[in-house]
């Protein structure tokens, strides 16, 4: 069953987008990404270490010809820094997609909504396809969509918290109002969390810590791939309703006396 979704004119079959941080080494990163089935991966932009330049480059491990590279602006606390970082990423030659992230508080790493809106507006004007990471704030998502972002990426819970989807009600409101793909980004902790996001009707899930931080990242990558297919299938298959109780699943005729 072909069941693709589109971001900024690109089609994707896998609804799992994975981060590449926190892995033991590039080899483990490669294996986990492979096992996850992801077609899009996020990467960060950081200074080259001038004094020790020899270490392998991430994109030697993850071939941009195979994976859609989604640079992020992680670590930026102002709209200006986020915009500069996005422009550098584009200049490095992986296209004009960007995961916009403007952090408001270094303790919780929660997004700064006004700064995110400002940066998004400037990046959209500058021709970027902007995927903004933001709180599960329906109004903020509405603004981001109206200004031309390619998707909205509300969080399920704080980055790395593993709490799963804390407020499905907000996500449902966001889904109801959205004309662009809704991608849940951050907070997923385990497979059922990811399946649940898909069952709400989201287009995709973006995660990093849940896989990289597991005791066995490769197996968790597989778990997430399967969970997201499962959740998507369940959403499309039309689940049964909920009742306080009960209907027999065996026939009630033909019972012995």
């Amino acid at each position: 069953m072909s069941d693709q979704y589109e971001i900024a004119g690109r089609s994707f079959t896998s609804r799992l987008i994975v981060g590449t941080g926190k892995y033991r080494d590039f080899e483990q990163t490669r294996e986990a990404v492979e096992e996850s089935g992801a077609e899009m991966v996020t990467v960060a932009v950081r200074r080259v270490n001038i004094t020790d330049r020899d270490k392998e480059n991430l994109l030697d491990t993850l071939d941009p010809a195979r994976y859609t590279i989604l640079p992020n602006t992680a670590g930026c606390y102002t709209a200006e820094d986020a915009v500069r970082t996005a422009k550098l990423a584009r200049e490095a030659g992986v296209g004009n997609l960007v995961k916009l992230e403007v952090i408001g508080d270094e303790k919780t790493l929660m997004p700064d909504v006004p700064a995110t809106l400002d940066a998004a507006a400037e990046l959209v004007r500058d021709g970027f396809d902007v995927l903004p990471y933001v709180t599960d704030d329906p109004v903020a998502c509405l603004r981001l969509q109206d200004m031309g972002c390619a998707a909205v990426m509300p969080l399920a819970a704080p980055i790395g918290s593993g709490l799963g989807i804390r407020n499905p009600y907000n996500i449902r409101i966001i889904l109801e109002q959205s004309t662009v793909p809704v991608i849940v980004d951050a907070g997923v902790g385990t497979a059922s969390d990811a399946a649940r996001v898909m069952e709400l009707g989201c287009a995709a899930v973006l995660m990093n810590t849940a896989i990289a931080g597991a005791e066995d990242p490769i197996r968790m990558a597989r778990a997430m791939r399967l969970a997201i297919q499962a959740g998507r299938d369940a959403y499309c298959a039309g689940r049964i309703g909920m009742k306080l109780y009960a209907t027999a699943s065996s026939p009630i005729t033909g019972l012995i006396d």
């Binding site: 981060g19 590449t20 941080g21 926190k22 892995y23 590039f26 990163t29 996020t42 990467v43 960060a44 932009v45 950081r46 200074r47 080259v48 270490n49 001038i50 004094t51 330049r53 480059n57 991430l58 994109l59 590279i69 640079p71 992020n72 992680a74 500069r84 422009k87 550098l88 990423a89 584009r90 200049e91 490095a92 030659g93 992986v94 980055i159 951050a186 995660m207 990093n208 810590t209 990289a212």
Partner: protein, 66 residues
Amino acid sequence: MKVTINGEETELSNGITVTALVESLGLTSKRVAVEINRDVLSRERWNETTVQDSDQIEIVQFVGGG
């Protein structure tokens, strides 16, 4: 002349181009981007751009991130 590359003061010979600088750092083949004094410098302009004294230069690449 003195410039700052990725936060570290460095001594460079006058008139060096960005292309030459990147080459001297062995980064030509790598996917890197350059910013001078907070403005991104597109690859096409590396050749024609000579580093000026006390320039603030940032050279970045992609690393693992979420």
